[in-house]
């Protein structure tokens, strides 16, 4: 915060201080959260957040659901990149039961998770454009995201809440249509993306609006347990994919972009570069996609094929056992983290051997970093607070769980 802004805050005459509501339902909050701002003219003196408007008690729900029924809950965390949540949860269970996942499944997962990251970052960055007044750059990437959603659809049948994959692998292999659409996406997306990039990245108006908006230092970001692009924009190169590689991320060559000032512009630029890196990872994974099965050999968890269930007694028994949650599970506690769209998405699972988790906690990056928001917008004009909110990409589903 610059000295003159500090003076403004100190000099604020109580008679001039107004209290206004920013949210809960306001177009620029992109979700339901309330901020009660105290403002002197345009300058924010202090703010207070209220969260929990869409709290759905996921952790409590998870204690009454068999493991495979928890995947749809994870869809609704960060719904801009559901597949990452789904696959992160499946990997947590696989860690608990200790199963070897075929290389092909790992590569397929990487492709899907990176597609999800692209979709997530694309929406976040185009929304930053909207909040800076640039609507074209919002509509333009939607046709690209649509292609990613079609890829999801091909693999899971759903577009937003994907319930992607199963414990042990995928529900089906990449279909011929998926191959075709992915190839065409890899061919056409880079050009479309660079066009989108050229609309904003070096746009004088956009840069003037976003540089210096909502900055946070690396020290504060660390103290607030930031993760993901918001932390990297502050100059810290922490990425779960590189620190604790999962699903064969160690096989791929990619860089972790970092920013300098931790402001809205840096967050935008970090996400833009991450999209390019994700594309690199997808290309590598797809070109080297190993042969093999799309699922692990895991009859206790992975539903048998329907044709077997109708014709084969053992398959029918397994089907019942899985659906009724009669599978033996090891006792233990595991923590598994994946790099979600917004940072370290962790699953802390405690199993007492019962058919449901004894306790399941989601480490939701949005929830953890959103508490820094008042500090980030103090002394800024309201318009910058709007930009800051969209650039830290708070997703209500993940925030409230």
């Amino acid at each position: 915060m610059s000295q003159d802004l500090k003076d403004v805050i100190q000099a604020a005459d109580p008679a001039n201080v107004a209290t206004i509501n920013f949210g809960p339902t306001h177009p620029s909050t992109h979700g339901i959260f309330q901020n009660i701002l105290k403002v002197d003219g345009e300058k924010i003196i202090s703010s207070e957040q209220t969260v929990g408007y869409i709290h759905r008690a996921f952790e409590k729900l998870a204690e009454r659901r068999p493991y495979n029924q928890i995947t749809p809950i994870t869809d609704r965390l960060n719904y801009c990149s559901s597949p990452i949540n789904n696959i992160g949860w499946e990997m947590t269970v696989e860690k608990l039961i200790g199963v070897d996942i075929p290389k092909r499944v790992q590569y397929m997962r990487v492709i899907i998770m990176e597609l999800a990251r692209i979709a997530d970052h694309l929406i976040c960055n185009s929304v930053i454009g909207v909040d800076a007044g640039a609507l074209t750059s919002f509509f333009y990437p939607f046709s690209e995201r649509e292609k990613i959603y079609e890829l999801y659809e091909e693999l899971s049948g759903a577009r937003l809440t994907t319930n992607m994959g199963r414990i042990g692998g995928f529900e089906r292999d990449f279909t011929p249509v998926f191959h075709e659409k992915l190839k065409s996406f890899l061919k056409t997306f880079p050009k479309a993306f660079e066009e989108f990039d050229s609309m904003l990245a070096r746009n004088r108006i956009f840069m003037d609006r976003t540089k210096g908006a909502g900055p946070i230092s690396a020290e504060r970001a660390l103290s607030y347990s930031f993760s993901g692009p918001n932390l990297r924009a502050a100059g810290v190169d922490y990425d779960v994919r590189a620190m604790n590689p999962y699903s064969s991320y160690e096989d791929f060559d990619f860089i972790i972009p970092v920013g300098v000032n931790g402001d809205t512009y840096d967050r935008f630029m970090v996400r833009q570069e991450e999209i390019r890196q994700s594309l690199r990872i997808i290309t590598q994974a797809y070109n080297n996609l190993p042969e093999g099965d799309y699922k692990a050999d895991l009859p206790d968890f992975y539903l048998p094929a329907k044709s077997d269930v109708y014709n084969n007694m053992e398959a029918l028994i397994y089907h019942f056992k899985i659906v009724m949650g009669e599978t033996e599970l090891p006792v233990g506690e595991v923590y598994h983290a994946v790099e979600g769209g917004n940072g370290e998405l962790g699953f802390y699972l405690i199993s007492d051997g019962g058919r449901t988790p004894y306790r399941l906690q989601f480490r939701r990056p949005c929830f953890i970093y959103y508490q820094a928001y008042p500090e980030m917008i103090k002394g800024l004009p309201i318009s910058d607070a709007v930009l800051t909110l969209s650039s830290i990409n708070v997703i209500a589903g993940e925030l409230d769980a």
């Binding site: 969260v51 929990g52 709290h55 008690a57 952790e59 409590k60 729900l61 204690e63 009454r64 860690k95 608990l96 504060r220 660390l222 103290s223 607030y224 347990s225 930031f226 922490y238 620190m243 604790n244 949650g325 009669e326 033996e328 233990g332 506690e333 595991v334 923590y335 983290a337 370290e344 962790g346 802390y348 405690i350 007492d352 051997g353 019962g354 058919r355 004894y358 306790r359 906690q361 480490r363 929830f367 953890i368 970093y369 959103y370 508490q371 820094a372 409230d400 769980a401």
Partner: protein, 173 residues
């Protein structure tokens, strides 16, 4: 410098906190250390300051309810991460239900603020010294702590979901 492993962390913690280290285990490669609740704040501060151990990142704080464990009904779990050694560890403290107080670590990690509020909101654990310990995700006028095991989620009389049929015997809940 060599990267430190779980054993070295454990040895260092035991050397510094001696009798306050009540139990330890390695669960799925992650070091779990149970400490006297009153010493947890000091232990986390010490881990954070320590030059070699360098536990610089608070991953999350979780509450757990064990209604059958007399005298240790509530667990507070701190998951920490040292980036220098790329090592994650858990610090656990068990609290009796009559006295669910533990010192806040908001002075060590700013991010602990909401994590502790969330743990309070769901389990009723009181973090002494927290600057603003209010409910966060639930309504302010809620008069119970919903993640405690006595608050059963859905119709527990449904026979097909009776835990007895699934090898678990906790019908008193």
């Amino acid at each position: 410098m060599e990267k430190q492993n779980n054993q070295e962390y454990l040895t260092a913690i035991q050397a510094a906190f001696g009798a306050d280290v009540l139990a330890h285990e390695e669960a799925f490669g992650m070091l779990n250390v149970e400490l006297t609740p009153a010493r947890i704040h000091d232990a986390i501060a010490w881990l954070q300051q320590h030059q070699d151990l360098s536990v610089n990142y608070l991953t999350n704080i979780a509450g757990i309810h064990y209604p059958d464990a007399a005298g240790r009904e509530f667990a507070v779990v701190y998951q920490l991460h040292s980036w220098k050694n790329n090592l994650r560890l858990r610090i656990k403290g068990y609290l009796p239900k009559e006295n669910v107080h533990i010192a806040t670590i908001t002075d060590l990690f700013a991010g602990a603020n909401w994590m502790e509020r969330e743990t309070y909101d769901f389990f009723g654990i009181i973090f002494d010294g927290h600057p603003d310990l209010r409910r966060i995700l639930n309504m302010d006028d809620m008069d119970y702590f919903p993640m405690r095991k006595e608050y059963v989620l859905e119709d527990a009389t449904r026979e097909d979901k009776d835990d007895r049929f699934f090898g678990r015997n906790n019908n008193e809940l």
